[in-house]
Point group: C2
Chain length 389, copies 2
């Protein structure tokens, strides 16, 4: 087990009607806030009105800032920073999913940084302070509601990059599973895949003697595999929605990766995909993970054998252990398909036209390898994209 530091101080308010507390919680931090949200869904379910009423009741002035889209844009973050500075706003309330929260985090970082906010995402600046952010979560997926990082897309350069710092954990996260009843099945499936990916990126490690987090990750994955299909069949099943929503946070607040050397190559490969093709992050992960597994299993099957046994209850193949791993990969791919997601690039009309470009972006033109479970060259990354075709 590796040495580690861990602190997650986000206050979680979880359950039916939890959003009624948003005004009270926000007022503890500020009376002059930016209210960040996306499009129509928070209006349609009446959430935005409810949040605004609660803020007003608690004497909180808010400036509305809507229009966040999936794969959130740095251009919108720049606009937000301008408004925050003009109005001396000192708190950001995100009402929505990961893109909305990540936008709020970007505004919060950028507002306290003198240069252009994109500097932060190209390793030109490393801020250690952020305007405080609170969340009312509507999509369990990204885990940004209690994570210490965010991901932003630069639509001009088609780059999608992440930044992380302990200062980036939200002050509070309000989570009511009922707010997710109206999610389209596609978003439920994509969110579920994102949550599973956050667990798997931590699970696939060469670090030995990390039994605590192995067992926790395996239990988390089994819970997801059980509950996503229930939520897809019965959209208003509170119990399944609750398991998924709580899991979304604890899958990515970091504690289940402590002591491990984490992976994250699949996120890297997916970020290249969604930066160019603007596909949903979870949809991209659903395609990349099986392809990555098929490539790395030949070089390092051990953890994939464990994954097959402990997550999918595959019988151990004593005569050919690698077949245990292969059966696990097949089980994962079948599970993903059963949730309605594609597992091939061709299924989402993506061809091989940008494979080298994406591999170049990920490996800095082939100058450095990526991945820790198996170290991957530019050529290896290209091979994985090809396996995903």
């Amino acid at each position: 087990m590796q040495n580690f530091e861990f602190q997650c101080d986000t206050k979680i308010i979880f359950g039916k009607g939890a959003q009624s507390r948003v005004g009270e919680l926000t007022a503890q931090h500020s009376k002059n806030i930016l209210l960040v949200y996306g499009g129509n869904s928070v209006k349609r379910i009446g959430l935005l009105d409810e949040v605004k009423a609660s803020l007003t009741q608690n004497g909180v002035n808010f400036t509305e800032f809507g229009g966040v889209v999936a794969n959130p844009r740095v251009s919108l973050i720049r606009e937000g920073i301008k408004i925050v500075r003009e109005k001396n706003i000192d708190f950001l309330l995100a009402v929505g999913g990961g893109s909305v929260i990540d936008t709020a985090k970007g505004i919060g970082l950028g507002a306290l940084y003198d240069g252009d906010v994109w500097d932060i995402y190209i390793q030109k600046a490393f801020p250690d302070k952020m305007l405080p952010v609170g969340c009312v979560l509507t999509i369990p997926a990204a885990g940004s509601e209690s994570s210490d990082s965010n991901v932003v897309t630069n639509e001009e350069t088609t780059e999608k990059n992440a930044y992380g710092h302990p200062c980036m954990r939200p002050r509070f996260a309000i989570m009511n599973p009922e707010l997710t009843f109206s999610l389209p099945n596609y978003q439920t499936a994509c969110g579920g895949m994102d949550i599973m990916a956050h667990i798997m990126e931590r699970y696939f490690t060469n670090e030995k003697f990390v039994e605590t987090s192995d067992r926790i990750c395996e239990g988390m994955l089994k819970t997801m595999i059980h509950n996503i299909p229930i939520a897809l069949k019965e959209n208003d099943n509170y119990n399944a929605r609750a398991e998924i929503m709580w899991m979304g946070s604890i899958a990515h607040n970091g504690f289940n990766g402590m002591g491990r050397i984490e992976e994250w190559t699949n996120h890297g490969m997916e970020h290249q995909l969604s930066a160019i093709y603007d596909i949903a992050h979870g949809a991209g992960l659903a395609i990349m993970f099986p392809a990555w597994m098929k490539f790395v299993v030949k070089k390092n099957p051990d953890k994939l054998i464990q994954f097959a046994r402990e997550v999918f209850n595959i019988d151990y193949n004593y005569y050919s252990p690698i077949n245990t791993a292969l059966a696990g990969i097949e089980a994962l791919e079948n599970y993903i398909k059963s949730t309605g997601l594609a597992t091939r690039l061709s299924d989402v009309n993506i061809g091989d036209e940008n494979i080298e470009k994406m591999a170049d972006m990920l490996t800095n033109g082939g100058k450095h390898n990526v991945g820790s479970y198996v170290s991957l060259s530019k050529e290896d990354v290209m091979e994985i994209y090809k396996l995903a075709l």
Copy 2:
């Protein structure tokens, strides 16, 4: 799943040599602290000298306050409060196990409360502030290093009571598994039992659809059952010590009980035992848990069947499901014995002389029942103590 709130902001510094950071971390909070510890063990392993040197290097003045014993006494806490007030101390550094940390918490609460500190433990006062506490942990067991509660014994009245409030989470917890290599096997076993009990008190619930925490609790218990015997055989096995130490914190920081209705009757019954007989908390739990299980299995076998299946891999007995549960209880009792702990009161020379007194204390003279998994009257509690004889 129940609605819940959760926040744990303790900063964890985990791994080899972690204690070298104690001065730096403490100095971020105060330069005038009380250094709370127990007896000789922290001196013998050189830890106390190392801590003092690190404090001095970082310009922290400390007043030493040693002599904490297991089942920590309110009388010592009163002494600590006096010193803290006299010297205007505003931070408490606990170097030791749960008793030391619980003493520091008691001093921290009492120093900011006008009346006698024992008021807090008899529900006469409900403070919401505590002088900040930091910890260097030497015994994985109580989980007090990141929990929001403590337990204190009044040696005059032979009462052992708990208090909990969010303000009671330590600011930081330094955890180096190497510091636990020199623990006597008896303490390792008792600590392991305490950690398992913290998981089991949350696990045994009638709440349905708490799959996330079910799976996490089961994984935690399996990890403990695997690693405690390793640490007992190989005292300096870093890997096993690390699993146990990290588990001690996450088993009791509360997250694994979220959404559940928790139990805690075994802790209640044990506190009566150790208040009167001054036995180690873990030793008492090792006796009470199997007895409690044998009593409740007749009234409510379901979660005990799940426990047997998922924790001890007992085959399901389709013809007599309750026998599945009974086999699980037997497996737990055999496991406890294998760690060198007794599972009967008679093994630790305790007879039936105080059974009614203890049941009276727990049920307020029979006026109210205890327990949520199965509601227990005074007579039921007496029956459980008798089953433990």
